[in-house]
């Protein structure tokens, strides 16, 4: 869901930039010295995931991992995703630099939102799996909706765009949900503090 350069209007780009800067500043303030490694590792994972494809039927999909980043990093997912998207833009021209702010909000905003919605459910060992799956898949769904909304602001029909983008990303939603579920399960056993859960 990288939006390319040259599509969005200046006010939209500016709004995206402002939101991203705000989120990034808040995120950076919350990173403690000992938290920095997960931030760096997950940012790297996000960067690499966007480049690696998994063959699926006639085409292929790539991992996004925004849900996981939201869960583990909280507000720090903003600087993490910003950095990864910035590097993708300058290395491969994926997305773009003027549109970097918007793309970051599109990815990080829903991730953060989902982590707030479902984060507390992770404590409950019965709800944990469902919460993790929901975080992973809903992050993608909200990112798709947000993308369609932003495109609408630049004169593209919302319903049509939304249908296309969501439909294209349904396999990704399922994969992300499963992946987030597995990783959360793994982390719960190995290092629950990273998810702010009392040891299981």
């Amino acid at each position: 869901m990288h939006i390319s350069e040259g599509i969005l209007s200046a006010p939209v780009l500016l709004g995206g930039g402002v939101l991203t800067v705000t989120g990034t500043i808040i995120g950076l303030k919350r990173i403690d010295t000992e938290d920095i490694m997960p931030v760096a590792l997950l940012s790297s994972a996000f960067f690499a995931a966007g480049l690696v494809h998994v063959p699926l039927g006639p085409g292929s999909v790539h991992l996004i991992l925004s849900g996981l980043l939201g869960l583990v990093l909280g507000w720090a997912c903003f600087p993490a995703i910003l950095t990864a998207l910035f590097l993708q833009a300058i290395f491969f021209q994926f997305g773009g630099l003027t549109v970097l702010g918007v793309n970051t909000v599109v990815m990080a905003g829903p991730a953060l939102l989902c982590s707030y919605l479902t984060g507390s459910l992770l404590e409950n060992s019965k709800m944990r799996a469902a919460a993790a799956f929901a975080t992973g898949s809903l992050s993608i769904l909200f990112s798709a909706l947000l993308t369609a909304l932003i495109l609408m602001l630049s004169d593209q029909g919302f319903i049509e765009s939304a249908k296309l983008i969501i439909a294209a990303n349904i396999p990704v939603m399922l994969i992300e949900g499963c992946l987030t579920l597995f990783i959360v399960d793994f982390l719960t056993k190995v290092q629950p503090e990273i998810l702010r859960i009392e040891s299981a």
Partner: protein, 206 residues
């Protein structure tokens, strides 16, 4: 090894897992537009997503690269290809052409076709005018025109390959480079944080 070391090794392992997935990078992050001059004063082009998927039936817009005035619009075919006749105005004014493709869903790509690339010397009059030439003598102009046409035909696939090779595909070194940048930035961040803490008299102790 103690707990913090162990958890970082595990996290590193998780990240490394991604490298075990097949590394051919095919996905629709970027829409690539390629264009080159073809025979009979046409311009031929191709719209392809990064990774190889053809962009079928997308809008193609040809503009004056300097003024952004739209000269013509067309649509790519089922193979992502498109072609159009060189606009008269463009040839007369020696315009650089900006050929843009819009695939919807936020995907847009561009290709700049410089005037020097597609504008060839003006063709001479067709052979009908040259009736006064002695019969039997080889009509030089005709031969020249045929030669140019044949060369254009042969060159078209070469030009296409050249245009496509300009696209840079992500490689392992790029992924590792990006990750190195991220880790470096993280280290810089920690260093700055520590300096700030030292200055304010606190020393972070855990």
């Amino acid at each position: 090894m103690n707990a913090p070391e162990r958890r970082y090794r595990i996290m590193f392992g998780v990240v490394l897992l991604f490298f075990l997935l097949p590394l051919s990078v095919a996905h629709a992050h970027k829409l690539n537009i390629f264009a080159w001059p073809a025979k009979d004063k046409t311009i031929q082009g191709e719209a392809v997503f990064s990774g190889g998927r053809k962009a079928k039936n997308i809008k193609i817009i040809v503009q004056n690269a300097e003024t952004n005035v739209v000269l013509l619009e067309t649509v790519s075919d089922g193979q992502g290809g498109f072609h159009f006749t060189q606009p008269e105005q463009a040839v007369q004014e020696q315009m650089d052409l900006l050929i843009a493709g819009d695939a919807g869903e936020g995907h847009r790509g561009e290709w700049l076709l410089k005037a020097a690339e597609y504008i060839t010397a003006p063709e001479t009059d067709p052979p009908a005018v040259r009736k006064e030439k002695t019969t039997g003598a080889i009509d030089e102009e005709l031969v020249r025109r045929i030669a140019v046409q044949e060369i254009d035909k042969k060159l078209a696939p070469v030009r296409q390959a050249l245009a496509e090779s300009r696209e840079r595909k992500p490689e392992l070194r790029d992924i590792l480079g990006g990750m190195g940048c991220i880790v470096g930035l993280a280290g810089l961040f920690v260093w700055l944080q520590n300096r700030r803490k030292e200055k304010t008299g606190h020393v972070h102790s855990d």
